[in-house]
C-alpha cells in the first residue's frame, strides 16, 4: 500500500503531505531567555528599595556604623581621659560642660589664637569629652548586639536544623529542652547568671577577660545560653514546613541526594527568615545590655556603653539633661533603625509573613 493512498476516515496523520516547515530564526529564539533570570536576592532587594522608610533608616544606620568605626581614630579626645585632671591638679571648670563650651585653660589657649577642637556634646561629671564617649558607647552597644545576634544565629540555626531534619525522638527531646528554656523568666535568670559569672570570672584577671571586663563576658555567655531558643524554633518550623512541600518530593523523585536538597532547597528557603530574625535580635540585645548597665552589671568602667551612659546621666537629668538625653537618643535611633530595617527585610524577602 502506498502512503497517501489511505482511508480518508483514518485518524493517522498523513505524512506524505507537506505538513512541516522550517522554523524561522525568530521563532526559534522565542523561548530563549533574553534577560538573566531575576534571582531571589535581586527580587528582594528591589522590593526593599521600594520601601522608603527602610531605605532611609538603612542609610542612617550606615552613617552611624561609619561614624563609630572612623571617629575614634581621628577625634582629638579619648573616652577615658579626664581633661580637668592633670599634673597641675584638678580643674573643676571642665566638669559637666555644656555642648560647645570650653574649660578655663582651653579658653586661655584659645585667647592665644590656638585652635581647640570643640566639645560637641560637652563633658561629663569627670570632665571627659562626651561626644567621644557617646560614640564609643554606641560602638560597645552595637558590638554587644551584633555579637549576640551572631551567637544566636549560629547556635539557633544548627540546633533548629538538626531538630527539624532528624525529626522523631531527637526532635521531641530537643524541642522540650527549648520549651524549658523558653519559659524561664529571662530577665531574672540573666541578672542572676551575670552576677554569678562576674564573681566566678573576677578571679581570672588579665588576658582577654581582663581587658573586656567580666561583665561583658558574662553578658555574652548569658546570650549564648538563653537567647538562641527563639531562633531554633523558627528554623525548625521553617524546615518542617519546607520538608513537606511538593517540590522537595519532586526533587527527591528525580534522584536528588540529601546534601543537594539541603544545599539547594532548604538553606535558600531558610536564609531570609534567619537573617531577618538575627537582625531583630540586635536591638533586643542592646536593650538587655542597657538594663544590665542600669543595674550596675554592664560593661566595666571607664568603658562606656549607651546604656551605662544614659543611666549615669539619669542622676543629673534636671541639671545637665544632655548627659542622659544624648545617649538615650542614640539608643532609640539605633534600635528604631534596626527594627525598621528588620521589618523591611522581612517584608521584602518573605512576603508570605507580612
Amino acid at each position: 500500500m502506498k502512503l497517501g493512498d489511505r482511508n480518508p476516515l483514518s485518524f493517522q496523520v498523513d505524512y506524505s503531505r507537506n505538513l512541516f516547515q522550517l522554523a524561522e530564526t525568530k521563532e526559534k529564539q522565542a523561548e530563549t531567555l533574553t534577560r538573566p533570570a531575576s534571582t531571589f536576592l535581586r527580587d528582594g532587594l528591589r522590593r526593599f528599595r521600594r520601601n522608603k522608610v527602610a531605605v532611609v533608616f538603612s542609610i542612617i544606620m550606615l552613617v552611624i556604623i561609619a561614624a563609630i568605626i572612623i571617629i575614634p581614630f581621628i577625634y582629638p579626645y579619648d573616652y577615658a581621659t579626664m581633661l580637668g585632671i592633670g599634673r597641675w591638679g584638678t580643674d573643676t571648670s571642665y566638669f559637666n560642660l555644656a555642648p560647645f563650651q570650653y574649660g578655663e585653660t582651653e579658653k586661655a589657649r584659645m585667647a592665644n589664637g590656638e585652635f581647640i577642637w570643640p566639645h560637641i556634646f560637652g563633658t561629663d561629671a569627670h570632665g571627659r569629652d562626651y561626644f567621644i564617649r557617646v560614640i564609643c558607647g554606641a560602638r560597645i552597644s552595637l558590638l554587644v548586639g551584633v555579637f549576640a545576634a551572631v551567637v544566636v544565629l549560629i547556635i539557633g540555626t544548627i540546633y533548629g536544623s538538626i531538630s527539624g531534619l532528624k525529626g522523631g525522638k531527637t526532635d521531641l527531646v530537643m524541642m522540650r529542652i527549648v520549651d524549658v528554656i523558653y519559659s524561664l523568666p529571662d530577665m531574672v535568670i540573666i541578672i542572676l547568671l551575670s552576677v554569678i559569672l562576674n564573681e566566678a570570672l573576677s578571679t581570672a584577671q588579665g588576658g582577654l577577660i581582663g581587658s573586656l571586663g567580666t561583665n561583658l563576658i558574662s553578658i555574652f555567655i548569658v546570650f549564648a545560653l538563653l537567647y538562641w531558643v527563639g531562633m531554633a524554633r523558627l528554623v525548625r518550623g521553617q524546615i518542617l514546613s519546607i520538608k513537606q512541600q511538593e517540590f522537595i518530593l519532586a526533587s527527591r523523585s528525580m534522584g536528588a541526594s540529601n546534601a543537594f536538597i539541603i544545599r539547594r532547597h532548604l538553606i535558600p528557603n531558610c536564609v531570609s527568615v534567619i537573617v531577618v530574625s538575627a537582625c531583630l535580635q540586635i536591638p533586643s540585645a542592646i536593650f538587655t545590655e542597657s538594663y544590665l548597665s542600669f543595674l550596675g552589671l554592664g560593661v566595666a568602667k571607664p568603658m562606656p556603653s549607651l546604656g551605662s551612659l544614659a543611666s549615669e546621666g539619669r542622676d543629673a537629668l534636671t541639671t545637665y539633661p544632655w548627659l542622659m538625653l544624648l545617649p538615650a537618643f542614640f539608643i532609640c535611633l539605633i534600635v528604631l533603625s534596626l527594627n525598621l530595617i528588620g521589618d523591611g527585610l522581612r517584608d521584602a524577602f518573605d512576603p508570605k509573613q507580612k
Binding site: 524549658v180 523568666p185 541578672i191 542600669f294 538615650a328 534600635v335 528604631l336
Partner: protein, 305 residues
Amino acid sequence: MNSKTLFYIVKRLLLALLTVFVVVTVTFWATQAIPGGPFNTEKALDESVIDALKKQFGLDKPLFVQYLIYLGKAVTWDFGVSLKVRGVYVLDQIGSRLPASLLTGLSAAAIAIILGLVLGSTAALKHNKKADRVIMILSTASVAMPSFVIASLLSWLFYDVFKVTGTGAIVWILPIITISLSPMCYITRLTRSATLDVLGADYIRTANAKGVSKQKVLFKHALRNSITPVITYAGPMIAYIITGSIVVEQIFGINGLGRMFVNSITQRDYPTIMGTTIFLTYLMVIMVLISDILYKVVNPRVELE
C-alpha cells in the same frame, strides 16, 4: 473536657515542673561556683566556730546531698532565712513584697491589653488612613526606648515640669504607664495584623453582604479570631511584667519583688536571690500554662499536640 485535653494539660504541667527543676538546679550549682564561702569575713573565724556554723546550716554534708535537700525545699517553698535581713524568712519577704508588684503589674497588663486591642483594631479598620499611620508610628517609636529612659523622662515631666505633687494613687500612675507602654505597643501591632488578616476572610465579606452592622462584624466575628495571638502573648507578658519590671520598680522606689531581687543581688544575699528566682519561675510557668489552656478554650480549632 475530653481525654485529649486532659492529656495535654498533664503534659504541660510536667513540662512546667521540669522548668522549675532546671531553674533550681541551675541556681544551686551556679551559686556553688562563686568563690568564697558565706562565712568569709574580714576577721578570721576560729575553725571550730566555722565548723559549728556549717553544721547548723547543713553545709557540712556532701554537695550532692545539699542539692537534694535544696530540691525538696524548693518544692515546699522553703527558701530559708535571709542572710542580710536578720531573722526573716525569704518566703515572708516575698509575701510582703508581692502585693506592690501585683498591683502595678496587673493594672499595667490590663491597660496594655485593653488599649492595645482598641488601638490595634482601630488601626486595622482605618487601614492606610491617618489614624492607622499615627498609631503605627507611635507604637514603633515607643518600643525603641528602654524603659528606664521612659521612666526618667516621665518623672522629669511630671515632677519637675508640671510640678505634680501629692501622694496616694498618683504615685502609682507613672510606673503603671511606663510598664504598660511597651507591651501595649506590641499588642497593638499584633491585633492590627491579625485583624487585617481576618477582615479579608470570606465570612466577614458574607456578614457585610447580608447587612450585619459594622460594630457587630467587628466585635462578634472579627475580634474573636484576631484575639487569639494576643492571648498567647498575654500570659507570659503578665508574668514578665511582674518579674521584669525590676528597672521601673527601682526608679520609682516601689517596694516590689523586682526591687527586692536587685537589692538582694547588690547585697549578695544568696538565699534571697535563689528564693526569688525560683518563686518568679513558678509565677512565669503558671502564667504560661494558663495562657496555653485559655488559647485552646477561645480557639477550639487549635489542634493539641
